[in-house]
Amino acid sequence: MPSKPHSKDLSDLFSEVTKLRKNSPLKSLQKYMDADPTIVSLGAGLPHPDTFPFVSIGSTVAEAGVSVTDSSVAAKDISVSSKQPTAKIEGLERFLQYGNGRGVPSYTRFVQEHTERVHSPLYEDWDVVVSAGNTDAFTKAIALFYQSGDTLIVDEWTYPAAIETVRPMGIRLAPVKMDSEGMVPSNLDHLCTTWDSPETAPRLVYMVPTAQNPTGATMSLARRHDIYAVAQKHNLVIIEDDPYYYLQLGSYKPLAEVNDPEDRYKDLPGIKSLAPSLLSIDIDGRVIRLDSFSKVLAPGLRCGWITAPKYITDKIQFHNETSIQQPAGFSQAIVSKLMNETWGHAGWEKHLVQTQRQYAERRDMFVDICQSYLKGKVEFTIPTAGMFLWFRVLLNETASKRKGVMGEIFESMLNSHVLLVPGYMFSPLGQTEEVLDKPYMRAAFSYAAESSFEIAISRLAQALEPFTC
């Protein structure tokens, strides 16, 4: 097997602060102790694990691939106990003690193995580091390269927390127009080519290439290649924020055309047939990929991981060590136990297929209802992944000429007791007059009960009635 190339060195793009980040001098003492166990170290300010009052932590988890909606769920009890490491998992006290900013070894080992299986990075020196979810990961990725006054390239509609994170950092946002697949490569190229000053040229582009928030757009493989080529041309670092990556659902089919639901959903991608990520085509090592368990296990775990060249993940590790340290040990323990022992990689895939099934059913039902009730009132691209539908309201002639009309529409929706998110909330340009009247809104089909879809959409249709054709 030919050896993989080394990543390109992008460290000259690091911010001043990132260049200064280094290993904690106190944590560096650890390597001397590891080398010589007869050394008595009174160096580390760690409490003794005998003072941790947790003897064990356990969970009842669904068997891999089982639907939790069934009245009786096949389940398994798992536990992690203090001073009882297994072949694969540390003892609980290890999950509860101070560590380093990279993560507890069994957790990071699993996500590393998984990343290799799914993405097979093309360069040799990649590594993983923990995050407390993708919002945390995003702030770490930005901090690697950015200082006040810099510009970050984003989609023309983007994740609100990202907008709110960068504003107080004094970072400006440069939006790039999208189409139904997401960011348009020629627009990105144009933005970078025509940037007026090389000194202030943006170095980083942020995108959510699968089931984009808010538009629900998913980039095809060809699109990903084109975007990547533009990034190479302008030496951009790409932040690939991919929390919906595993929620790839295949194509929509109207329920009326489905004879056999089991047959209908037999081709869900699982892990093996997922659309390739930007990481998987990243020959240079310019993609910083953000993965999260939030949408595929649960958001309250607050854990995920970041994949990038090791000289970059090291910097993120040091940043973790001066902020969050690591995700909660309990979360890492449950995830590690579940993934390494209970489900394994095969079980994890079964779970993902089951999750894809649940979202695909929701998507299909929701799109059916939208096509029925909202015909002529909105247009939208049917999503092939994720949880969002992005409506463009088809305003009638009088409405489209009226300033503040979208405000009226949202008022009307609230009065009709249906809640969607106004498009302006996703605008990197803030709430200018121009943005406020862009006729977009985002619906999520992930949370409301499926039985309420029809009521919700009929209320929406009613609310839109006076404003549409």
Binding site: R21, S24, D36, T38, I39, V40, S41, L42, G43, A44, G45, L46, P47, H48, D50, T51, P53, I57, G58, T60, V61, V66, V68, T69, L96, Q97, V104, A132, T135, D136, T139, A161, E164, T165, P168, S294, L297, A298, P299, G300, L301, R302, E321, S323, I324, Q325, A328, F330, I334, H417, V418, V421, P422, Q431, A444, S446, Y447, A448, A456, R459
Partner: protein
């Protein structure tokens, strides 16, 4: 409950009088924080009524969460008298969809939530903070943090931006110093004595400050300080608070060791037995802890709402829970909540839920207090043995102040006129003798210790087996003696596992001839 016990709204003090609102410190916020607004997006999410069908929240449905129940087995805190009984444990359970007595359902704990943290977790901590600190102003609250390192960065960012200076203790927590470097905030070192930050030095620095932007905040660890182990007396805290008021400073009170305040130090008659006692919790019967009141916190003296208090479960439950809490005026907590929502969102719902269940139901307040008393006893015992060993083996070679809280003992060592040169040799010799401690340099907030004749070591006595204290301190003594008594001690010393100095030298009968010193294994 006594009628003058305050409610959790905190608006009635012990006298029953209504408490004043806090001073508004927003004029010392950095400009970016003044315009920092609550998320418009989250306002839309708000609190959907039952008639509102929520197609807005991009949140997963709980029937996609494969975690159906969470359990934990915990130690039941028992008092010394009950130690004769076998240690017992208790089980706690968090059910998926039902509320778990005081604590939310697991579905709710596993779902996205607000940046302030899980309600039942914060409710307990607010009640507990009321009991312990009894804040003297109205409109205060608590929010969840994922530990004090993160909390420090966020609290500092309210008052300091790039180019600003933050008043800090001369020796301080390296995590805080790294955070300041990253924020391009300059640490401004204030002198310390055996009790911690010196109020006169603080006052002088502030009075004479001529920098382009005003000083707005100070950061300190007033109890069991890291690294010096110093604990401020009540009087010292009052003086520091007065200086902060005089110069309109916010006070970031980082207090992770607060509950590890010791019983008074005494050398037990049966210390040797205590040293050989089996297990960590072998508290000598003569050290039976009295219910000594804790030194009041700065928060408890805070009449103006200047203190942003950082509490953590790291040293009182476990470090990697990554859970703590911040107490401050509510309008300040609102800003911190916004910061949470654009970074961590909130700490792990599993961790908050388990802690909430433990403190609210499984242990309750009584169990929690007993657990803290046990910790105090454990740390008191360790401190006692450690200090005894320091006195026996290193006395005369080092200066130290007796710590009354925490886990650190800070030693000052005179190694001759050129400490910068001697210190690395000391550390190397110590390693070869088989002992390590943290050198002072990483804790120095003024970048370099300008007093060139003083070397510092921080010893932590929380982790290592108590039986190893004596060997460790003997080895330290050997290393110090070796450095001191041989001016040109060869730097290339045979690396062995034990450092034994020839007996004649130990007995003071011989001083080694320079160049002829050998270390035998």
């Amino acid at each position: 409950m006594a009628p003058n016990m305050t409610t959790s709204t905190g608006c009635a003090g012990n006298t029953g009088a209504v408490l004043p609102p806090p001073k508004d410190l927003s004029d010392i916020f950095v400009p970016a924080m003044r315009i920092h607004k609550k998320s418009a997006f989250k306002s839309v999410m708000g609190d959907p009524t039952s008639t509102m069908i929520n197609m807005a929240g991009g949140v997963p449905h709980p029937n996609t969460f494969p975690i159906l129940q969470l359990q934990a087995k915990v130690v039941s805190p028992t008092s010394r008298q009950d130690k004769a009984l076998l240690p017992s444990t208790a089980n706690l359970v968090l059910d998926k969809s039902q509320k778990n007595r005081s604590t939310e359902s697991l579905d709710e704990l596993l779902q996205y939530g607000a940046g302030s943290g899980v309600d039942s977790y914060c409710d307990f901590l607010k009640k507990y903070t009321q009991i312990v600190h009894n804040p003297r102003y109205a409109d205060w609250g608590v929010i969840a943090s994922c530990g004090n390192t993160d909390a420090i960065g966020k609290a500092v960012s309210l008052f300091c931006e790039a180019g600003d200076s933050l008043l800090v203790e001369k020796w301080t927590f390296p995590g805080a110093l790294s955070s300041l470097v990253a924020a391009k905030v300059q640490p401004l070192a204030v002198e310390m004595d055996g009790e911690g930050m010196d109020p006169e030095s603080l006052d002088n620095i502030c009075s004479r400050w001529g920098g382009p932007k005003p000083l707005r905040a100070m950061y300190l660890v007033p109890t069991g300080q890291n690294p010096t182990g110093a604990t401020m007396s009540l009087e010292r805290r009052q003086k520091i608070y007065a200086v902060a008021c005089k110069h309109n400073l916010a006070i970031i009170e980082d207090d992770p060791y607060y509950f590890l305040q010791f019983a008074p130090f005494s050398v037990s008659r049966s210390l040797e037995n205590a040293v050989n006692a089996v297990g960590l919790l072998g508290v000598d019967s003569d050290e039976q802890q009295q219910v000594d009141p804790l030194v009041p916190s700065l928060l408890s003296l805070d009449t103006e709402g200047r203190v942003i208090r950082l509490d953590s479960f790291s040293k009182i439950l476990a470090p990697n829970l990554r859970c703590g809490w911040i107490t401050a005026p509510s309008y300040i907590l609102d800003k911190l909540q916004i910061l949470n929502e654009s970074t961590i969102l909130q700490p792990s719902g599993l961790a908050q839920g388990l802690i909430s269940k433990l403190l609210n139901d499984t242990w309750g307040l009584e169990g929690w207090n007993q657990h803290l008393r046990n910790l105090r006893a454990t740390y008191t015992f360790r401190r006692n043995v450690f200090v005894r060993m320091v006195d026996l083996h290193v006395a005369g070679l080092v200066d130290y102040v007796l710590p009354s809280a925490g886990m650190f003992l800070w030693m000052k060592i005179n190694l001759g006129p050129d400490a910068a040169e001697a210190m690395p040799r000391l550390l190397e010799t110590m390693k070869k003798c088989g002992v390590m401690m943290a050198p002072g340099a990483p804790f120095c907030s003024s970048g370099s210790n300008s007093s060139s004749s003083d070397c510092y070591l921080r010893a932590a006595f929380a982790l290592v087996d108590v039986a190893m204290f004596e060997p460790a301190l003997k080895r330290l003594a050997q290393a110090i003696v070796a450095i001191r008594e041989t001016a040109d001690y060869p730097s290339a010393v045979q690396n062995t596992h034990t450092c034994t100095v020839p007996n004649a030298m130990q007995e003071g009968l011989l001083s080694p001839a320079p160049g002829k010193m050998t270390i035998s294994s």
